[in-house]
């Protein structure tokens, strides 16, 4: 019983359970499929947000280019879906049937070589994780081994986001350009636009998100997590305790990239398109705001932050489209100044102590026994 309690405490299972019930039971029961699909879309950003909790909150390295990895995962998935949607029969009016429509519009007459492997689903699923991880490895290895960090790293990731966006928009014939890849319909013959498919994809998204949180929590509570915190505060001490600091940073950055890639792929599946507007600097910074609002030290908090900011965005941008950006900027500044640890920090500092006070007043004896039990 105490072992179970320790496990629950260590993995913060209570808060994770509440989140899971909210996402898997409460929301599907209360929202129609259109709204639920929107929530599913928001949850794909939450993958990026929990990656940021690892890299920024725990690792102390701010990345302003996470949209790149979200986009790479999303594009990898979208390429597979687009190829499937471009069979010779549906595209027979094109001058070259059987290739994606945007290639035809750009006078391409054959499928480019790097597109060919994306005809295979297993390859695509691998690429969803491997491509973002590989790019993250290259960027972070080059930077962290040279001990570039802090603001400089943030600027470089921002530059990467800009470069990748320009590349995608410029290479219209290969990427669909500024419109992105649209009209994604089926996954291995399965129509992803039906309501039942949307439910299934939503649940897949929730399951993968909860799994990712558990994975990250496992890393946080182990030695690697302790080392990340140690590195954030006293980098030299860790180095002179015999650790290659750069390797740990590279690992965390790659982990966040892989999670972002999974989020991106789920986005393409649920929303049915992928475009450069999810890759560039602005979406990347928005994703940082999700983590900041939720609390950059809390995985579960980051999910709530993502949901809250995006719900706000949807409601406000429907009624005051011009005001929304200012509001979001104000929210970011407000959060960092007033409660730097975000919603999760507020919960820890305001709600939890009051709850404990209330419990102590109600039943001092049992609580005292409880505390003694925890200490033993």
């Amino acid at each position: 019983m105490t072992a179970l309690k320790a496990l629950i405490h260590r993995y913060q299972l209570a808060s994770l359970l509440v989140l899971t019930v909210l996402l898997a039971v409460v929301l599907p029961l209360t929202l129609d499929i259109f709204r639920l699909n929107l929530v599913g879309k928001y949850l794909t950003y939450a993958f990026v947000a929990i990656g940021l909790v690892m890299v920024w909150g725990y690792g102390g390295v701010l990345s302003l280019g996470q949209g790149v990895f979200f986009g790479l995962g999303g594009y990898a998935m979208a390429m597979f879906l687009k190829l499937e949607a471009s069979d010779p029969v549906t595209t027979k009016i094109q001058s070259t049937p059987g290739i994606p429509d945007f290639m035809d519009w750009n006078q391409l007459t054959a499928l480019p070589a790097f597109w060919v492997p994306f005809k295979s689903l297993p390859f695509t699923l691998l690429a969803v994780i491997a491509v973002p991880t590989l790019l993250a490895w290259i960027v972070s290895f080059a930077m962290f081994k040279r001990r570039v960090g802090g603001v400089y790293f943030a600027i470089i990731t921002q530059a990467v986001a800009l470069i990748v966006t320009v590349l995608i928009i410029g290479q219209q014939g290969y990427t669909g350009g500024v419109n992105g890849m649209t009209d994604l319909k089926t996954l291995a013959g399965w129509d992803t636009r039906t309501d039942s498919a949307k439910y299934i994809l939503y649940y897949l998204c929730v399951a993968l998100l909860v799994g990712s949180i558990v994975l990250c929590r496992w890393i946080q509570t182990g030695k690697a997590g302790t080392l990340l915190l140690a590195m954030r505060d006293k980098e030299d001490r860790v180095r002179f305790s015999g650790y290659d600091v750069a390797n740990f940073r590279v690992f965390t950055f790659c982990l966040a990239a892989a999670l972002s890639g999974i989020g991106g792929a789920l986005f393409s599946l649920q929303v049915g398109f992928m475009s450069p507007s999810f890759v560039g600097i602005v979406p990347s910074i928005e994703m940082v705001i999700y983590a900041a609002v939720g609390g950059r030290m809390s995985l579960v908090g980051a999910v709530y932050g993502t949901l809250l900011v995006n719900t706000g965005k949807t409601f406000f941008s429907e009624s005051f489209p011009d005001l929304w950006l200012f509001l979001m900027a104000a929210m970011f500044i407000g959060v960092t100044m007033a409660f730097p640890m975000g919603l999760a920090g507020l919960w820890e500092s305001q709600v939890v102590p009051r709850w404990q006070q209330w419990r102590t007043r109600r039943a001092p004896v049992t609580v005292a026994a409880d505390i003694r039990g925890q200490q033993a």
Binding site: I219, G222, K223, A224, T226, L227, L229, A230, D233, K234, D236, R237, V238, R239, F240, S241, G242, Y243, D244, V245, N247, F248, F251
Partner: protein, 247 residues
């Protein structure tokens, strides 16, 4: 370069910062099981010397050999893994972690990324933490957040973190700075105990403390060695009196 039986052999070591030679053709040998104290006026290059040995600063020329392995081109973490431990001048500990975690993180297992992911804090680790915590007088403070310790206890904790690694060469930069007389005494006793199986280099200003612990004293001045020998011999050296002790 010579092949020696010393724990540490520093030969002809030079480092210059924009032409200023902080360490100037310095040669120094440390025996196994020796406790060497380095003294000298401010700016003599004492801390720079430790920085060079542990890799925080790169040498311009010369050689540093530890157990006959050339160190000068090695990364910091590799030097640590060879058995060199460095304590910094201001206590460098993880303030947000508990004393236990501070010591646990310093345990020399699971040092690679995947090693750390698979690392389990087993009984062996816990026992080692216990032993070291006893040594540094913090056994009853294992659950305390390290940031809440007194200045002297932080100094001990950092020494303890090095002891976890069981290094063969310990570099201590002013280990008693900011300690009360009682804490100084306990530290002196601690240093004498821990230099049993290893070489220790200590930088210190407090002459009474130096007298208490040193096997041999090296006096540095302007990046060079001014004198070397027993405390008595060094103290009576006119050159030393001139630049340092006399003032």
């Amino acid at each position: 370069m010579s092949n020696t039986d010393f724990a540490l052999a520093v030969e002809d070591l030079t480092v210059s910062f924009d032409g200023f030679k902080a360490i100037d053709a310095l040669t120094l040998y440390i025996d196994k099981n020796e406790l060497r104290v380095i003294i000298g006026p401010n700016g003599a290059g004492k801390t720079t010397l430790l920085d060079l040995i542990c890799g925080k600063t790169r040498a311009s020329s010369g050689s540093i050999k530890f157990k006959n392995t050339e160190l000068t081109r090695m990364a910091e973490f590799q030097r640590v893994r060879l058995g060199i431990g460095r304590k910094f001048q201001t206590p460098s500990i993880y303030e947000n972690l508990s004393v236990f975690q501070n010591l646990e993180v310093s345990y020399p297992k699971g040092r690679s990324v995947f090693g750390a992911l698979g690392f389990k804090c087993d009984d062996e680790v816990r026992a080692r933490v216990q032993v070291v915590a006893q040594d540094i007088h913090l056994a009853d403070k294992l659950d305390t957040e390290a940031g809440l310790l007194s200045h002297g206890q932080k100094q001990w904790l950092e020494i303890g973190m090095l002891l976890m690694q069981d290094p063969e060469l310990l570099l201590l930069d002013e280990p008693i700075a900011g300690m009360s007389p009682r804490e100084r005494e306990m530290t002196a006793e601690l240093l004498q105990r821990i230099c049993q199986n290893r070489a220790v280099i200590v930088i210190e200003h407090d002459m009474d403390f130096v007298k208490q612990i040193a096997h041999k004293v090296t006096v540095m001045h302007q990046g060079k060695i001014l004198a070397e020998g027993s405390m008595d011999k060094v103290q009576s050296d006119p050159k030393v009196i001139d630049v340092y002790l006399g003032h």
